[in-house]
Symmetry: none
């Protein structure tokens, strides 16, 4: 694959999830759902995929008497996100060179 594009972070929804988790220690399921704007089932599946990829950790804890899920990026996930962003920025940089030249 191109440079270091991370397949597991390739889907837009997953990129968003990772972007959020890269900045906070943890994010609630409902918060992620709002940001990514997908159905419960889809978010759940994306999170599972990220867990399977070894990037995310889920923690279930009660809040206001109800069970909620909190997601966080682990070290590997942070690394993967950085790498993926790097790969994208690399592509952008190249494109901008070409554009600059043709302008």
């Amino acid at each position: 694959m191109s440079a270091d594009i991370v397949p597991a972070l390739h889907a837009p929804a997953r990129l968003q999830i990772a972007a959020v988790l890269a900045r906070v220690d943890e994010a609630e399921f409902a918060t992620l759902k709002e940001i990514v704007d997908v159905s419960d089932s889809v978010l759940s599946k994306h999170l599972s995929a990220l867990v399977d990829a070894g990037f995310v950790k889920l923690r279930k804890a009660p809040l206001d008497g109800r069970q909620r899920t909190w997601a966080s990026l682990n070290a590997q996930g942070v690394k993967a996100f950085r790498q993926h962003m790097h790969a994208l920025q690399d592509l952008v940089a190249r494109a901008q060179n070409a554009v600059a030249q043709s302008e």
Copy 2:
């Protein structure tokens, strides 16, 4: 698909092709194949898809007595590539903003 993501450039292979073509005037089929690392048929199909999307132009010309194919991004292709990259950066930025606000 979210924001201004360009479906035709969504596949990693196509993103790579576009990135390569964004920095050179033309690239040979064999060169692209090596860079993207896919089979002939797959590269051929990706290029066709990009042509159908109106982003790429193919030129066939003989080299060393054999017919070869050269691909290039047209103006629309350059624009689409930029837009796509922008959309990705935007997704990340927005996700991070959302987080910043809730902090």
